[in-house]
């Protein structure tokens, strides 16, 4: 019972959201299901990418290069699959390149003490350079990533339809990963040490924890999640690679991490929220609202702007600014994030 009272705000919020979603489902029966499905589809790579950020920052390392990690993985996965004729090879290549990119970030930030934000930006630029130059059009995937319809769960009304059927196993993995990282972070020895290293590394050091090694391992391994997110983009959500196809998702993931207060499950919820906003924007674009003919006064111009496809497409990005602006000062980053650890620095 005490668990319930301790988490009552979360439970109340969840209840409110559940009720709202159900009402929406009933009221707008024709578009609601497809919107929820689209929302989850948009959210999947964001969930994975935000977990990369959470793991890194909880360890004390800023990762601005998630965008680059995803892009390289999308590229590597797609082309490896296309040239080798095997989807599995593609997935492995994608995840592997995420790991390598993570290792690069880890080594330069932790071992060489490079400024972490600059390291991330450099990674992004390198990723763009490589993928832009080596891109060859006209390649095709040899197959698809298999779907995973989960037997019992898929029959739950609404939730089952959205989350547990009609999706590849990457989608299911994203859910497991979110829950898994939460459990690992707050209920295991690894999690305690990681959080200590991110908050006050010298306390961990003097307790016998190897701070550098833990940070190196965490940031590198977290790269595999970014790799998977990239693979999802080019091999699941779509079956192609385009230059710059990550389109800012890596940065969105950082915003989600912040809004989720560096907690995996809240980040999951935030990713869903953004997925939903995106779905709303698409829906509005399709519904063909707008001003008839040429707008004649300022008010009509504004209305025309707000209903135009170009402006509607910016809705998720505006939402980020609004939510971050409101969340100001209410969330607290891990104490030592962004600072390289120097021994004897007490």
């Amino acid at each position: 019972m005490t668990w319930v009272t301790k988490n009552r705000t979360t439970l109340i919020l969840l209840a409110v959201v559940a009720v709202l979603a159900y009402v929406f489902y009933i009221v707008a029966n024709d578009i609601a299901p497809s919107m929820f499905v689209a929302a989850w589809g948009y959210a999947i790579p964001l969930v994975l990418a935000s977990l990369v950020g959470v793991i890194g920052e909880r360890s004390g390392v800023v990762n601005i290069g998630i965008e680059g990690q995803m892009l390289i993985a999308a590229f590597a996965g797609f082309f490896a699959a296309a040239y080798s004729g095997s989807i599995l090879v593609g997935v492995l290549a994608g995840v592997g390149s995420g790991l390598i990119a993570g290792g690069f970030l880890a080594w330069t930030s932790v071992r060489w003490r490079m400024d972490q934000i600059i390291a991330g930006v450099v990674l992004n630029i390198v990723a763009t350079g490589i993928t832009s130059f080596y891109y060859t059009p006209g390649q095709l995937l040899p197959g698809v990533i298999p779907n995973l319809d989960i037997p019992l769960l898929q029959d739950i009304p609404l939730v089952g339809e959205v989350f547990f059927s009609g999706r590849s196993w990457i989608a299911s993995f994203a859910i497991i990963a979110a829950v898994g990282v939460h459990l690992l972070l707050f209920h295991t020895r690894w999690g305690l040490r990681t959080r200590a290293v991110g908050e006050y590394p010298s306390a961990a050091d003097t307790a016998g924890v190897n701070v550098e090694r833990l940070r190196l391992v965490n940031v590198t391994l977290a790269g595999s999640l970014a790799g998977l997110a990239g693979v999802y983009l080019s091999m699941d959500a779509s079956s192609t690679f385009e230059r710059g196809m990550t389109a800012g998702r890596g940065f969105l993931a950082l915003a989600i991490m912040i809004m989720g207060a560096w907690r995996p499950l809240r980040a999951f919820a935030m990713a869903l929220f953004f997925g939903f906003i995106n779905a709303v924007a698409s829906q509005l674009q399709q519904s063909g609202l707008g001003v008839e003919g040429e707008p004649s006064n300022i008010l009509e111009w504004i209305l025309d702007a707000l209903t135009s496809p170009q402006i509607l497409a910016t809705l998720p990005y505006v939402a980020v600014l609004v939510v971050l602006g409101l969340a100001a000062g209410r969330v607290r980053a891990p104490g030592a994030v962004g600072q390289p650890y120097v021994k004897g620095d007490q």
Binding site: G191, S202, A203, D205, T206
Partner: protein, 556 residues
């Protein structure tokens, strides 16, 4: 310097008995406790076994040296610690004590020399290695994760788990309670560390070290943040630990503590051991002389104060701390021109927030501060400075200096946009340089050039830069917070003298310090602070150390 005369109530100083050990120095026992062949074969003077000798040599350091670039932090140090002994490492700030113990704990590696633990001279790789070999350390700046609970902090690094992976918090709680009982240091396992008062955090830090198997416990300046009563409590704990077989090495610059509990003292000066003596064979003056290398004047000479009009008037001030809790809670005080008012108190009772509010660096919730006719309550640092407030900040690295800047730029840090250092927004470098040269001579700042980066100076010289800057514009009010923390004795004397000079030239001086001796030595009037308010005011001449200690602890 500290007052060595024990007043009633402090632990006995006379004739500290021979170091306590297990007493059994027979070869059988040696056989049982030696960990390596080398240890078994040690000669009696080294192993401590044989007739009439004390006990096992726990720590044996031979010819240890460590340099950082061109700075020799430790020079050819040789010392040892026996089982059950309390050994004090005495020395002024910068003498190399912390560097030495950091090497014992595996945080730094020595350049030359050996550190042997129970006869094993394998180099100590890292803290984990040190802990495994039975060394524990209580650090000067607590190594606790603020947002984690006591239980979580205590189990960090040797977590109690179910199945090796899942955390067993209940097990950790049990461990905390057991340790609390055993050593008489009560703490609540489920409280977040940053919600604890400083004295309790100290207890947690100690328990953390004791939660492992410890043969040798190192304490680095353990009483820095304690009231005199808490200090005595701690010294008592130390003696009990020694009596039960745990050796103790403790670092301090306070003579009275050395004389109170230690069996032997090593005195360090400029990185080398300049004296080793059994505590019963020496006294405060002897120790002080060894520490500094010359006759030390233990208190400063000053004329009586002639205070004039009230310069600073604080009324009922309320200020919040970084965690939005009330830190200054109804503080009222007046400071007159030509007097030094010392604010005595244990750190964490609102002093830092008070000074920051006075400087304009922190918002005031309610109450008033006036400087003469000027209302300072809503002023920012720019305004307070130009109103004539000089501020020597508690944390010189963070607030007082920009390490990357030259000494010259640091000397005009809050006047950079004023004539003659700038005209119409354009900086005038020759004026800046001239000012720096003058101040360097006047304040004896040891550096090869005023263009040198401030970060490369020693602690004492850095502080002199700050002091020079804040005194050179003849402030009406000079606020000095912990002005001699981390500063060598020579610079301490210099800074104290300059503070008295400022007073004699008519400034009102507000001195905030956790060093009771400094307060007693300099202040014309003393205000004791506890819980964010003034609990007692008295004349400097009438001040009684024990009385103040009681007040600092909240006993009023």
């Amino acid at each position: 310097m500290s007052d060595p005369t024990p007043t009633g109530g402090t632990p006995e100083v006379e004739g500290t008995p021979h170091p306590r050990g297990h007493g059994d120095t027979s070869p059988d026992r040696l056989e049982r406790i030696a960990t390596t062949d080398a240890a078994r074969e040690l000669p009696p003077e080294r192993s401590g076994f044989g007739e009439g000798v004390i006990g096992e040599v726990l720590l044996d350091i031979q010819h240890l040296s460590k340099s950082f670039g061109s700075v020799h932090a430790n020079r050819d140090i040789t010392l040892n610690v026996h089982r059950g002994e309390i050994v004090a490492l005495l020395g002024e700030n910068g003498a190399g004590k912390s560097t030495l113990v950091n090497q014992i704990f595996g945080l730094i590696a020595p350049d030359t020399g050996t550190v042997s633990v129970k006869g094993d001279s394998t180099p100590i790789k890292d803290p984990k290695d040190a802990i495994n070999r039975g060394i524990g350390m209580v650090h000067q700046h607590f190594q606790l994760v603020p947002v984690m609970t006591v239980a979580e902090n205590l189990m960090l690094g040797h977590e109690t788990t179910k199945g090796g992976i899942v955390l067993d918090i209940e097990g950790a709680r049990r461990m905390v309670r057991e340790l609390s009982e055993r050593h008489g240091l009560t703490v609540d396992p489920d409280v977040e560390v940053d919600d604890l008062p400083v004295g309790t955090q100290q207890r947690v830090e100690i328990l953390k070290a004791l939660s492992r198997r410890v043969d040798l416990l190192i304490l680095d300046e353990p009483t820095a943040v304690l009231t005199p009563q808490e200090t005595d409590e701690l010294l008592g704990v130390m003696k009990e630990l020694a009596a039960s077989g745990t050796s103790i090495v403790f670092i301090t610059h306070k003579l009275r503590e050395v004389l109170a509990v230690s069996d032997r003292v090593y005195v360090l000066r400029q990185g080398a051991v300049v004296g080793e003596v059994a505590t019963k064979d020496t006294d405060a003056t002897g120790l002080a002389t060894m520490m500094v290398g010359r006759e030390v004047v233990l208190s400063i000479d000053k004329e009586a104060a002639t205070p004039k009009e009230v310069v600073l008037s604080i009324q009922d001030l309320q200020v919040k701390d970084d965690r939005d809790l009330t830190a200054v809670d109804g503080f009222s005080l007046d400071v007159r021109a030509g007097e030094i008012v010392g604010v005595a108190g244990v750190e964490g009772n609102g002093q830092r927030e008070l000074v920051e509010a006075l400087a304009g660096m922190r918002k005031v919730v309610s109450g008033q501060m006036t400087l003469g006719d000027l209302d300072l309550t809503k002023a920012n640092p720019h305004q307070t400075h130009h109103a004539g407030v000089g501020h020597i900040p508690e944390n010189r690295e963070k607030h007082g200096l920009v390490s990357a800047y030259s000494i010259a730029d640091n000397l005009v840090l809050n006047e950079f946009d004023q004539e003659p250092y700038a005209k119409n927004g354009v900086r005038q470098f020759s004026a800046v340089r001239e000012n720096a040269e003058t101040l360097r001579d006047e304040f004896d700042i040891r550096s090869s050039s005023v263009m040198q980066s401030a970060g490369s100076l020693s602690g004492g010289n850095k502080q002199k830069v700050v002091v020079a800057r804040e005194m050179s514009f003849e402030p009406k009010l000079l606020m000095a917070a912990q002005p001699t923390r981390g500063v060598d004795v020579g610079s301490i004397e210099f800074i104290h003298r300059r503070i008295v000079d400022a007073r004699d030239r008519g400034a009102a001086v507000l001195l905030v310090s956790a060093e009771l001796d400094e307060i007693l030595s300099l202040s014309d009037r003393i205000a004791v602070v506890h819980g964010g308010k003034v609990v007692a005011e008295m004349d400097g001449k009438d001040a009684d150390r024990t009385e103040i200690g009681r007040l600092m602890a909240g006993d009023h």
